[in-house]
């Protein structure tokens, strides 16, 4: 059974005089443990697709079934709770809470989930160690490099033990070294914890690590290819 099953998903923005069809009948499904890159030119609908999968926006039509539930039918209050329990987010500009330390940023989501303090402490230590940030626990984000901040964001996304993680252009603001470090960490966690990762990206380095590449154009899936190993180049 797929983790995410998308059926006939369409989204039309009517904010201007001319309707914009951001997604046009997308059908996709994602299995547990996949490491997928959604690629395509700017404006092809990558971010819109991620927003729909993440329950951040409602589609014009279609279904997004996660864990047997169609999240497009959920009321916004229920969606918030659903996101908290099931989805991890990684953003292009990290979006850490600047007034909290690395440790507190990672703890924050678990506190929202009302996890017990011992579990929170142990998981934070484990994740920050895995991210190579044990020595930065009590540092605020502004004292970290972009790569380090994005690793905190990954730790935060993983902290809630989500069913899958959505990452919107996670490497767009990172240099090559930081990108490689981050991708390696995510690939390791994907292998180790069987967390499903879905990226939207323009970055060839991300595509190189992906096990599956979905290409969008004009709101439609034009190709969907699985790669044998994460190190093989995806010939899209």
């Amino acid at each position: 059974m797929p983790v995410i099953d998308i059926k006939g998903l369409s989204k039309t923005y009517n904010e201007t005089m001319v309707p914009v069809h951001a997604l046009n009948g997308v059908n996709l499904s994602f299995e547990k443990g996949e490491f997928t890159a959604i690629v395509g030119p700017s404006g092809c609908g990558k971010t819109t697709l991620l927003n729909m999968i993440g329950g951040l926006d409602y589609p014009t039509s279609g279904e997004v079934i996660i864990g047997g539930e169609d999240i497009t039918k959920m009321k916004s209050a229920k969606l918030v709770e659903f996101r908290l329990r099931n989805i991890g987010f990684i953003f292009q500009s990290y979006n850490l809470i600047p007034v909290l330390t690395v440790k507190e940023n990672t703890e924050f989501i678990m506190e929202l989930q009302h996890r017990n303090p011992t579990e929170i402490k142990e998981r934070v230590q484990y994740l920050l160690a895995a991210m190579g940030l044990s020595d930065k626990m009590n540092v605020r984000p502004k004292y970290l490099s972009g790569g380090q901040q994005q690793r905190v964001a990954v730790a935060r996304a993983l902290a809630s033990k989500p069913t899958f993680i959505l990452a919107d252009e996670p490497t767009a603001n990172l240099d090559s070294k930081s990108t490689n470090t981050l991708l390696d960490l995510m690939a390791t966690l994907n292998e180790k914890e069987q967390v499903t990762f879905i990226f939207s990206t323009h970055d060839q380095r991300v595509m190189d690590k992906a096990k599956r590449i979905v290409t969008l154009e004009d709101g439609k899936v034009i190709s969907d290819s699985k790669i044998a190993t994460s190190h093989e180049h995806a010939g899209v």
Binding site: L56, V80, F91, I97
Partner: protein
Amino acid sequence: MLLRVAWRNVWRNKARSMVIVIAVALGLWGGIFSDAFMQGMSQQLVHSVIYTQTGNIQLNQPGFLVNHDMALTIPNTDSIVTQVENIPGVAGAATDIQIAAMASTASGSAGIMINGINPGEYVKVNELNKMLTEGDYFKDSRANQIVIGQQLADKLKVKLHSRIVVTLQTTAGNIVYGAFRITGIYSTSSTDFDGQTVYVRDDDIRTLVNYLPGQASIITVLLHNNDDTKKVTDAIRGAYPNLQVQPWMELSPLLQMVTGTVQQTAYIFVGIILIALAFGIINTMLMAVLDRTHEIGMLLSIGMKPRLIFSMFMLETVFLSLTGAAAGMAVSIGSIYWFGQKGINLSVVAQGINAFGYSSVVYPTLGVDFYADLALMVFVIAMIAGVFPARRAIRLKPAEAVRGD
């Protein structure tokens, strides 16, 4: 965690927060200090009236105060004074023969109110002896001494040791004259009072108007604590149902109204300041929401309930406001304490304010209950001011906010 995040968020933009904290602090300081100033003036006025004019309570015959009818006197005042002084809370009681009269000198004449007192007893209920600017307070036993106010002395163009002739009626309705020598000149904070009130020994006036020993117009009662006025008034009323027993609030209803109004005015004044500050707070918090659109989008995306985001902004507003309020109160307490000791000298405008009975040196004072009320008012205003920005925050759409749209 929410409290911690909210508190730290207040200080994210230190300059902006400090501006509003200082604005709240200064606004409240202005409101609090002006209230303390008005309270100080009002309390001094009450103190002055009680200790120089009415005492806390007065006993007299019903109708006496209407036209000072000389026939309406209290007999056997000695036993009444003794019994009243035994009532708990009473500091002292003293008699007073109060008669309307005319004072004349070579330079002029004026209507006066003669108070025939026993100087030794009267100090228990009146601070006249402390208000002499010249002369003394019935120091020796010579007959026909008179203590007059500075205002009257100026009006009659008389000085210490000058002679004054008073014209008054006896109980039989005959006109009599008495010549008195000025042995003391006093000055209270009320120029009106000083211009018409004189004090003589009760024995001197009793001889003139044919009052019997123990007969007086008024018994003045002073209490240890003004707060006991109502309780003691009721006790005396119970003991002397045939006498008119009035607390100072009834004797001087205007004063009661003024003191009551001061309190209400203070709340209205501070309320207006707080409402004005609320707009500053709203503006600051709206700026904070605008600055943190990305972050709010992220919080909504990761599953933070809008209710919690709303609470976070409400807490930030309350913290910001209460920090300003605490600073304002600290400055107020310090300045009120300092000026409460040193006083604020208004001698430049003394003539004007003395005409209303106010002292020219004001000692600001403020009760603890006002600070508590103020903290509550700030809290309520902060809660109201916080609603609009907090609602704005939770109405953001996560997908748009996270991109900063």
